[in-house]
């Protein structure tokens, strides 16, 4: 029985508890009236702008506006853009140096913790968006890295972007069902209401097999992107099937369990495959993927029990 005794319970840090409570109550207060369910589901995903910016090829030497770097913060272990780094979303009234010191001491930035956390940090405009924060104590750090300093109105931009992020989330609550064309209108409404009227809304990847939408925000390029994804009922059913064997082989049993589950959910036109066979070393799969083009549920990744 002792082998099944979990560690003792811990209390939440009172400061964090208060911050969490404040956040939750702010979100509750910001909530808009709940829309009635309709035929399709929209989920919201906030994609790090740095990733999107890199894909879009926007990154360059041009100075970015405060809005373009307001979404993410990346702390670096040393004054180099190739140093180990840890990124997280920006927050209103966030002390960047304190946040990076915490990332350092917690081991999130590098593990094992590489000594005491630097006391001084310098914030620049990230090479691919977001704020990039480096150990240092002089303003030449950004210049030496060929980066612009953070725009002077960064804090205000973070507040505005945080409001947009919150309002988008409130406008597309989990499980709400919104037609994709309505979602475009809805996203446009939020953008205009929050002062981001110049942003574009794009929609890609929708099909009969991917009728729902995920929303991503790209402040670097000023785009709210709607992407087609499969219906949650399908992903939930497939997950339920896979969980019957906790994602562990034998392969035929897993495929059969998932197949039965998705048929029961009304998705009999989808097939189930695995991208590899389980082995003695890796007897389990790490997760599922969905390919709307071939209507396939795919077991992927290697995992141990």
């Amino acid at each position: 029985m002792n082998d099944l005794m979990p560690p003792k319970e811990r209390d939440l840090d009172p400061v964090r508890l208060a911050a969490m409570k404040r956040l939750i109550l702010d979100r509750v207060a910001a909530e808009r009236p709940v829309r009635r369910r309709r035929a399709r589901v929209v989920a919201l995903v906030l994609v790090p702008a740095a990733m999107i910016g890199a894909v879009a090829g926007y990154a360059g030497t041009r100075a970015k506006t405060a809005e373009q770097v307001a979404d993410m913060v990346t702390c670096y272990q040393s004054p180099s853009v190739s140093a180990p780094a840890f990124g997280f979303p920006s927050a209103v009234d966030q002390d960047l140096a304190a946040a990076c010191r915490r990332a350092w001491t917690s081991g999130a930035l590098a593990w094992p913790v590489p000594g005491p956390a630097p006391s001084s940090w310098v914030a620049c405009s990230g090479p691919e968006g977001g704020a990039a924060v480096f150990p240092g104590d002089h303003g030449a750090t950004c210049e030496s890295l060929h980066l612009e300093p953070l725009p002077p109105d960064y804090a205000g931009a973070v507040a505005r972007f945080s409001a947009l992020r919150g309002d988008m989330a409130a406008s597309f609550p989990d499980g709400s069902c919104v037609n994709p064309s309505d979602a475009e209108t809805q996203a446009r409404t939020v953008l205009e209401r929050d002062g981001f009227a110049a942003w574009r809304v794009t929609a890609t990847g929708f099909s009969e097999a991917a009728p729902c939408a995920a929303v991503s925000l790209d402040p670097v390029n000023g785009v709210a992107m709607l992407s087609g994804i499969v219906e949650p009922a399908l992903s939930d059913a497939a997950m339920g099937g896979a969980e019957r064997t906790s994602f562990c082989g034998p392969e035929a049993t897993m495929l059969s369990d998932i197949r039965d589950a998705i048929i029961a959910a009304g998705f009999e036109d989808w097939t189930v495959t695995a991208d590899h066979a389980p082995s003695a070393q890796w007897p389990c799969y790490a997760g599922l993927d969905f390919d709307p083009a071939t209507r396939s549920v795919i077991l992927k990744g290697h995992a141990t029990r």
């Binding site: 209390d11 509750v28 909530e31 992903s235």
Partner: protein, 207 residues
């Protein structure tokens, strides 16, 4: 900590009713009352204190969204919150977009306060220990793990666990029975956790 105008004896049901009528402070009181238990529950299912903290906030945001669906057990909302937490934990494990969305927002608001080295070390030890325990639990199906964690570790009665899991009481009994058999932990039947309730054991759930 923010001051509260609610007494510690205010029933969850009354607070929930006030909250759904638009009283934010009532919802804040419920958060303060139950966040600690949810935090530890999330840790015990994922072995990660940081994710547990993020998910705790996500649980209450999700609970607010689903506030019309609430079910009380022994006048406590805690069992239902465990159920909400269980769903988010499953979403998190599958890399669910919905859970990640909540996480990204919560992380953004995290206080950047200092984290003493010994506290960090203790939490790392906790996580290693918890991973070992969960590895032993892996012989159980997820639904059996849920029943075991709620009834044995979190101290819920069968009825409360049934509310949390959204299944009949008999299903909780059978799942826990199977879990016991597989784990061979020798929990005697006279240790049936039907009573007292979790709220009674944990002093109205206040931590």
């Amino acid at each position: 900590m923010d001051g509260s105008r609610f007494s510690g004896s205010a029933a969850d049901a009354d607070l929930w009713r006030s909250a759904t009528d638009g009283d934010r402070e009532a919802f804040g009181e419920l958060f303060e009352r139950h966040a600690g238990r949810i935090y530890n529950f999330c840790f015990r299912r994922l072995a990660d204190w940081t994710i547990a903290e993020d998910l705790t906030s996500a649980v209450f945001l999700e609970a607010w969204r689903r506030r019309r669906d609430v079910r009380m057990a022994h006048d406590s909302v805690l069992p239902w919150l465990y159920g909400v937490a269980g769903n988010l934990i499953r979403n998190h494990r599958r890399g669910g977009r919905r859970a990640l969305r909540a996480l990204s927002r919560i992380t953004a608001e995290r206080s950047p306060g200092p984290d003493p080295a010994d506290e960090v070390a203790a939490r790392v030890d906790d996580e290693r220990r918890m991973r070992e325990v969960l590895a032993r639990m892996a012989v159980l199906r997820d639904v059996e793990q849920d029943a075991f964690v709620l009834c044995v570790w979190q101290g819920l009665s069968y009825r409360e666990a049934a509310v949390a899991l959204g299944v009949p009481v008999g299903t909780v009994r059978s799942r826990l029975s199977r879990a016991r058999a597989r784990l061979r932990v020798g929990i005697a039947e006279d240790e049936d956790p039907s009573e007292p309730s979790a709220s009674e054991r944990h002093g109205s759930g206040v931590r």
